[in-house]
Symmetry: D2
Subunit: 289 residues, 4 copies
């Protein structure tokens, strides 16, 4: 019932895309898969986080990890791209400036404390998503060992940086929200930093990016990134706060997990892959209040 | 596995209590049933709203409708009491003062527009209760023909009053809230009223009631009843607003549907039935903010 | 500091626009005022609801009431248009089909029970809008006598229909929501209706309208209009439910009060006034979930 | 206008209690101050976090820091007690078991990521607390340098432990909630731990405590502490999650900031100070859902 077409977006449960990839690749020149099946380039990492060796490693090599801010060069002209984990991508966009700039202390841990909305848990109702129970929750649903950690480690590798010896630690907490994910990434610099050094790292990293904004204001209500005003938009807002002493930095990234963390990011990848205007189809700027 | 005891509260799905009533009445002297099985005294009304003749009409006669403000005299010493429909009871408590005082125009309709929280739909998850869908809803789930209408009609009969010829109309809308139900009951007086007349009707109706407060203030944030500050408490707050011209009155009643609209009301009934302090076990006064 | 331009939208407090109208009309050919200053055509009605005679009745005559579904013909080519009251417009869009079709009982009242978000109260913080107090509110902030009633009466007059002898009654309740207003308008037909008669009235009234949808489904979660999925969009969703017996009808209209109830409606008026595509600048279709 | 009495609770803005302490201490034998004025025993710490030397250091020495789980022995028979910072106390209750057990790596940082409701910001309305702005916020209002850090450092000192060389870092984020604060405290052990070791540390620390529960379940919805079910109660729920590898531990503590984080804790202190039943006046167990 499906005919050949230009582009296929696969939105299947984990483990399904890899089983069906030959079929869909036969129907469309461009395939973008939003599942986790083709995200991890390292077989050992896949096996560790997903519990078994990858069933089709040759296909993994054909897929580009679909984080345009990291892999835009490889996406250009590519036929296959994977999506990104929403929590990984919030963490990665917060971290990339300091990783690129080589400012982090390799002996200190990285802690990403992520607050997320109920749409992250998918469209299937459960006892935990039942409104009387889920409403008002502040629920640590993945306090340790979240699979998206692997995508953060992969980002380090892609930038030629070593992951910290004390580890990368994601904690995901469900809060009262439908759309939205925001990461507070707690990191430590190898030597005391000044605000202007971090500003420069952020500007260098995100100069020219069509969907990343640096949000850091000294006054007003919105001083740091917040997901509410991003609902429905493809923006990733990033920012940071420097502690007294200069070595502890809290990095922030807020997104709409369903857009920049999933569908919008996939469209942005398509635009890059096919040479379209990278912003095509992604013009909604969000609502306030 | 159940042994004889003093009191049984039945919290079973509609239609189950009536099937099991002999068993439970054999185990306990006092039975309070929170389902709809024994609420309606009139067989025709039951058949109309529940779709079939009542399977055990003799048992219906033994049960007292458990609305202490209406049936306290019958509850004293009774062995069997039914609970009340939460939407019916919010509507009835708003209406009773003017019905008792004979102030309503019998040719004008009564419209009860009820806003309710998600706990009214029970403990079983469904597509409609899935947090991403239910969150932020303003959903007319029972726009017309709600079964609790029968309990409002029965209240009129219990007070020896005729239900209005233009009907009693309940509309129930689910809003963003977990606990709480609030009825705005739109009624019309047979002749223009003054505030003081309505005040008197409310005071006459609820004088000495341990769980009803008249809330009507000219200033401040809480000028009329609101359910938020009643969460967990057995209070029913009632109030009213008179329109220019004096014939249109909006009556309000706010409750916690799980307490004054269900479990708390059942405990209050027990206290009346057995001659305990009517407030025993119901001391929580609510939280603010 | 303001130069001549093509269009001015005035978003001033009530009473300011009328004082400044000569200035702005001198700067722009097209003026659209979102305040209440030029909405009411009838001087007596203005005086009754706003407490004093209108200070510039000649200007009132130049303004077209900016409800495209009602006044599109007059808006075409007009230079001046007023906005609409958000609660009035939700009520009017629910009511217009049955008023146009002449189906309402002129002796029966109309009750519009409107649920609204916090953005209706404007951008200035107050004790009542303080989050700990406003959060979770179900607050009857205008239980009777809301000024927008005048705009509903004016709609009747504009359609050549008599307002009901028992009055039009608006009750506005603030609920947990930021954007959104939804009216449940309780009306009574002069004789028993069938669903298909009402369907026809709605279709006749809104055929070809670019921003009105009839929402009435027998299954699924969204059976009647709801404001959540309209946030940020210019849609007005309308629907109805017929009670057993056929004379009581509950009419629904949901909008985003800041868009279809204010700014979006003003843009739509501009498009009509100047002959643009009526949908220009109003393409956002809303978010789900 | 105030007469001599048994107990005074001072709930004054920061800096006011210290100015008025002679007056109140003259009126009542027991004074419990909920402000920050008498919390910090170390003058240098006070000066650092509050910007000036303490104006009445002799009074500081008379006050016991009012955290019963830490200072019960000193509270017994004491005349003066201070309250606790709500964010400090959530962090401290999460941390104390591992600090007491000497399990933390002194070279690794401690990061407390705290999610809080709007009642933490007090009763005065502001632009930031205006409902349309505050609703749905995920706002890092104190991303670094929160004053309550001093109370966490003081807890280390009180237990004879050294604060970590890499610092104690609090980040406070305002989320959609009215009452409640929950801390996720990210810590690192000096050597790999097992669950049972941490369980023992928690049990040893909180054995016999009347208001602390260890919440750590393998199944169900509530596997770790959550503040919603604690609203209005004096419970502090604590728990933990151990990462693969055994050195990273996430410690949790959830409280109602207005009760266990303020007023309830003060009442508990009073009970200890005067030898009353420690639970007197604090019997409310919370609501669910």
């Amino acid at each position: 019932m499906f005919k050949a077409c230009d582009v296929v977006f696969l939105c299947l449960p984990h483990g399904e895309a890899v089983n069906q990839i030959d079929r869909w690749a036969g129907l469309a020149e461009t395939v973008i898969d939003l599942s986790a099946d083709f995200r991890l380039k390292d077989g050992a990492s896949y096996a560790r986080w997903y519990g078994a060796p990858h069933p089709a490693p040759a296909w993994v090599d054909r897929f580009v990890y679909g984080l345009p801010e990291l892999t835009r060069a490889q996406l250009r002209g590519a036929r296959y791209a994977s999506g990104v984990g929403c929590n990984a991508t919030a963490t990665n966009r917060a971290l990339m400036p300091l990783v690129r700039a080589g400012l982090l202390d390799p002996n200190m841990p990285i802690v990403s404390d992520i607050k997320v909305g109920s749409s992250e848990s998918g469209a299937v109702a459960s006892d935990a998503s039942h409104h009387p129970e889920r409403s008002g929750a502040v629920r640590p649903y993945a306090p340790a060992g979240h699979r998206h950690t692997a995508e953060v480690e992969q980002m380090f590798a892609a930038l030629g940086a070593a992951a910290p010896s004390a580890g990368i630690h994601l904690t995901v907490t469900s809060i009262e929200m439908v759309r939205g994910a925001t990461a507070a990434v707690h990191v430590f610099a190898k030597s005391p930093l000044q605000d202007k050094t971090i500003w420069k790292a952020f500007r260098d990293c995100y100069r020219g990016e069509p969907f990343v904004r640096i949000v850091k204001a000294a006054t007003g209500i919105f001083r740091l990134p917040e997901p509410k005003i991003l609902a429905g938009s493809n923006w990733a807002d990033v920012g940071f706060a420097l502690s007294e002493g200069g070595t502890k930095v809290t990095l922030f990234c807020a997104i709409d997990n369903l857009v920049k963390g999933a569908a919008g990011s996939a469209v942005q990848c398509l635009n890059v892959m096919r040479g379209f205007d990278e912003r095509a189809g992604l013009g909604f700027i969000g609502l306030h209040p």
